[in-house]
Symmetry: C2
Subunit: 431 residues, 2 copies
């Protein structure tokens, strides 16, 4: 019979792979209390150093999926045509409100989009936190409500129910306090176990790279993408990944209500160019994966995407016509030292500033401010005059401005000519 210490030794010393049976025993024993948190923590740190090979990771992710229920998202139809399910997951970036635009957009093209999302921790915001700035909107849906919403609207953005991959929830909480979050196989299994359990038939991953991304290094982002795509395919989910740049905020708004407003503008055909580039690229991948021949740009232009967004908000209790809350205080920041073109506006610095203004949380139990955040008045490629503010800070409490200003020190560069334009889509993984 396996025991925890011999499994830890095998991984610590990299002497051999853990077998499927051992990984199965481990999860059962962890659930029953026979393997203690301190033993799992030591194993997670050994995995941080020595990784998991393909077979180990497949078994590990399978145990996380099997720790809970797996939803069945087949059988949706509208106007006599089947509606295949497809989802998107982003590893998180600054100003990344793509989900808010993409879910209704792809649903309006004929798919169902069961987007199980999370909350923000640290300098990147969470999709649920953003939507909660809409008066009345609630993130929690039971499985029947989820199915009903997908039937009537075609898209849903909701919190994971407690039945989905409960082992992941416990492991993630343990990794969070034991300094073992930043491990590619552990990240991949955490993301993919929830997405696979959610029951989507296809999945597109947006793996961010650059200063504002969780994986700043391009090679690591590519490795994470390949690992997740392989896991999806192994478990019968058609999966692709795009690697996208996250060096500067996506769009001009960073912060919860500010990003909702920008998402609504995007659905109304007035979205910033970079946000639309990423959104349409992901939408085309999603539609292609499920064999839907639809034009996402047309879905926006026709107003169908916005209609679906409004219906999606309403079905979860939100009022799409209610005015969004606004911050009590605003302050200009980052005045241009000289006239010229913005060549750099650092995503991470802006993300940390928004976080310090109140848009994010330092600990899971913290509340977030709906209204706090940063507006980018100029972005790379824009021309600014000397003395013009590049950022506008929003906060409920003016005492927040000082720490936010510190965060953006050195985040701006201005040059004598416009920076070269480059696609935000740097790579694609998956067939």
């Amino acid at each position: 019979m396996p025991d925890a210490v011999s499994l830890i030794h095998a991984k610590r010393d990299n002497t051999r792979s853990l077998t499927d049976a051992e990984i199965g025993w481990l999860f059962a024993a962890y659930a029953s209390g026979d393997v203690a948190d301190e033993q799992m923590a030591a194993l997670l740190m050994a995995i941080y150093f020595n990784g998991l090979d393909g077979a180990e990771l497949r078994a590990w992710t399978g145990e996380m999926i099997d720790s809970g229920e797996r939803l069945n998202l087949t059988g949706f139809a509208a106007h006599g045509r089947p509606r295949p399910s497809v989802d998107k997951h982003s590893t998180g970036g600054v100003g990344d409100k793509v989900s808010l635009v993409l879910a209704p957009l792809v649903a309006s093209c004929g798919a169902v989009v069961p987007m199980i999302s999370g909350r923000g921790l640290g300098h990147t915001g969470g999709t649920l936190d953003k939507l909660e700035s809409i008066p009345g909107w609630r993130a929690s849906l039971g499985n029947q409500e989820l199915t009903a919403a997908l039937t009537s609207v075609g898209a849903v953005i909701a919190a994971a129910g407690s039945g989905l991959a409960p082992a992941d929830r416990r492991l993630y909480a343990l990794r969070d306090v034991t300094g073992t979050v930043e491990s590619i196989p552990l990240i991949a299994s955490s993301i993919m176990s929830k997405k696979i359990a959610e029951g989507t038939s296809a999945l597109v991953l947006d793996v961010k790279t650059g200063s504002g991304a969780f994986m700043q290094d391009g090679q690591q982002a590519l490795e994470l993408a390949r690992t997740m795509v392989a896991l999806g395919v192994d478990h019968g989910v058609r999966t692709r990944a795009l690697i996208t740049r996250m060096d500067t905020p996506l769009g001009r708004a960073v912060g919860n209500a500010l990003e909702v407003a920008e998402a609504i503008a995007a659905l109304s055909g007035e979205g910033p160019e970079d946000l639309m580039e990423v959104t349409f690229a992901l939408a085309r991948q999603m539609l292609d994966l499920v064999g839907l021949d639809a034009d996402p740009e047309q879905a926006v232009a026709s107003g169908r995407a916005l209609d679906t967004f409004r219906a999606m908000i309403k079905v979860q209790g939100g009022d799409p016509d209610a005015p969004l809350p606004q911050a009590a205080h605003r302050q200009g920041a980052l005045p241009a030292a000289a006239s010229g073109w913005v060549t750099r506006l650092d995503a991470r610095a802006v993300g940390v500033a928004a976080w310090r203004l109140g848009a994010g949380r330092a600990r899971k139990e913290d509340d977030v401010s709906h209204t706090a955040g940063v507006r980018c008045l100029a972005k790379p490629g824009d021309y600014v005059r000397q003395g013009e503010y590049v950022l506008e800070l929003h906060a409920d409490d003016p005492a927040r401005f000082g720490p936010a200003l510190e965060a953006v020190e050195g985040a701006l560069a201005i040059g004598g000519e416009p920076p070269p334009r480059a696609s935000l889509i740097v790579d694609q993984v998956g067939a």
Copy 2:
């Protein structure tokens, strides 16, 4: 203020050294419960991979010492001459009953020897387990009893009281279940914190290397020795180490009462050559460290060492004249396949056999058999005739013989000429 995750990250990523203040905070927070076992386990695994530098290890060991009391072992005298304190610690080997001979021997030469010892776990036996095979003898002594025994007898072998380095006891239990025992800085801090807290003024370390040793690799043994010597010197304890070979059992007896009998024989001038070589080498180092000009061979020959042993046993409730218990069953093992010289008798295999016969414990809470063990009828360098047994197994339960026989399969080699003789002392560390 430090937090556990940032300390774990610093050690995991090897980005910087932990400061004295951080290590101080860590131990205080671990004691108060603000740092949880799972966080300490993750940090221990990160230390397994990335080590502790000299300053970190000094601070770490200092916190373990300061977690409890530090005894004061000065002021002993006999016949108007001061009796300096000196101790020995062995990293553990098969048949290693040196402590039983050495403590009374060195005490009989004019020192006081406050030998705080441990119990066995795995294939090497514990000194306290051996002595407990003497009828009436008890391992636990209060601090006043310890001082009284040192005053009257000069030597004591006893269990560590709960007041000595309690942080080490808690950390060792955590390392035991989390697969983080085999780390040189953690081993060094565990051993040295107890020895320094015990209050000895000088210390000689017997660091074993070879198949029967905890550190099988010679370079690792040397690194452990250097690390421990540096820690002792840092904390004001004159410390030296000998690296000694542990490829074959030390002496001919392996098992608790069997080893006590051999130790008494050694104190009576009838000890096996290899046991006496190591014992006298350690005794000379101990006496030299505290400036005592005495001849340990003479102390044995005169009977003074045996007298001190008898007094030491009596003062802890033991009866040195009571017959030692004997096993109910004996069985020959490892018949020589051919006549010739024994060239190899593997220490680890014999240790595992003794353990399976009942001499050792698999878990800390197990009992050990006083009588089980192995006698080596022939050792490397001895001539044997074809068919002669090389081992004699002792057990209370004959069902134990089968697993023990399996353990020694392949442990014996016989050659056409005697193996070369080499000193068991392979290196020395410390001034």
